[in-house]
Symmetry: C2
Subunit: 156 residues, 2 copies
DNA sequence: TAAGGAGTTGGAGTGCGCTCCAGGCAAGCC
DNA sequence: GGCTTGCCTGGAGCGCACTCCAACTCCTTA
């Protein structure tokens, strides 16, 4: 299992509850996180954060007077969504497209909903695939577990 | 959804039933399929088939007297397993490892079972991830569906 | 005998998603 | 003043899983 393996956030499995983002560590108004803070919080490397910005997946990040990035709570929750969607296997390019739609404003909501619905279908399909694979795995594992006579094992 | 997107087999979703391979088109003994037949059957490109062989994922394929590949039913079902496992995101390298273990014979069954069990855990984890993402998607889609007032849409 | 189609090989190329590097700047501490 | 730490940039590099190419052989059908 190597594909789609993102670094896990520090807080282990803290995000099991689906649509509830982590409570932001700081109240709105004082939310000016450095890149390393965001890296620690999101589980994305600083490289990846800068790269996401470059490709338009997380645009318009604020800067300090010396030019350093200062992320907001909104940035954080956007990143949370992005991370979720990445886990589904959604292509980064598609998420960039979604981000563009959001930037373009209200008249794109239909297209956005469609994009999400398509993704939803994909997710359902992948769940079904995984479950069917699970059955195969269980079958094979059973073979190895309750049959230790030689000969059977070569067939796998 | 672009990652882990393999070409689908011709026979659409014929493999919904978990551990039952497609019945081999020919009885054992007359199973000497050409590479293009196997490509059509498995949904893998001929390039991929040869590449799998090179890296040790499908070794020792029979040859005709002129040196062309002739695949057996056993090869076909091995490929079916490989395709399933690929869908889980299992790395090709790990499958090569598994293939090596099979070749090494009976004394490796414990390690094989362990490999499969690890994969199984991964699959369970991914299903959980996907289901939690599904909840997020449903939440977002709902937002777009039953709320068309401007303003809400920028927040996503 | 000639053409066409399917197969062979080693090696190069591709697309994706990062990941790293070199060189530089600004702020804080001794 | 010098050192460290953290951040900045553009661009190069990497690992994976294919994907394609050129040049060739072999078989079949016309």
């Amino acid at each position: 299992m190597t594909l789609v393996q993102l670094r896990q956030p520090q807080s282990e499995r803290a995000d099991l509850c689906a649509s509830a983002d982590l409570p932001p560590p700081r109240p709105d108004g004082q939310d000016r996180y450095t890149i390393s803070e965001v890296s620690a919080h999101s589980g994305l490397s600083v490289h990846t954060l800068r790269w996401y910005e470059r490709i338009g997946l997380l645009p318009n990040v604020d800067r300090s007077h010396t030019g350093q990035r200062r992320y907001t709570n909104a940035d954080l929750s956007w990143l949370a969504l992005v991370s979720k969607l990445r886990l589904t296997g959604m292509a980064v390019a598609d998420m960039v497209r979604y981000a563009e739609l959001v930037r373009q404003g209200d008249h794109t909501t239909a297209e956005r909903r469609e994009l999400l619905s398509t993704t939803r279908e994909d997710v359902l399909r992948r769940i079904a695939e995984l479950q069917s694979t699970l059955a195969v795995l269980d079958f094979k594992i059973d073979l190895y577990s309750d049959d230790d006579t030689p000969g059977v094992s070569e067939r796998n």
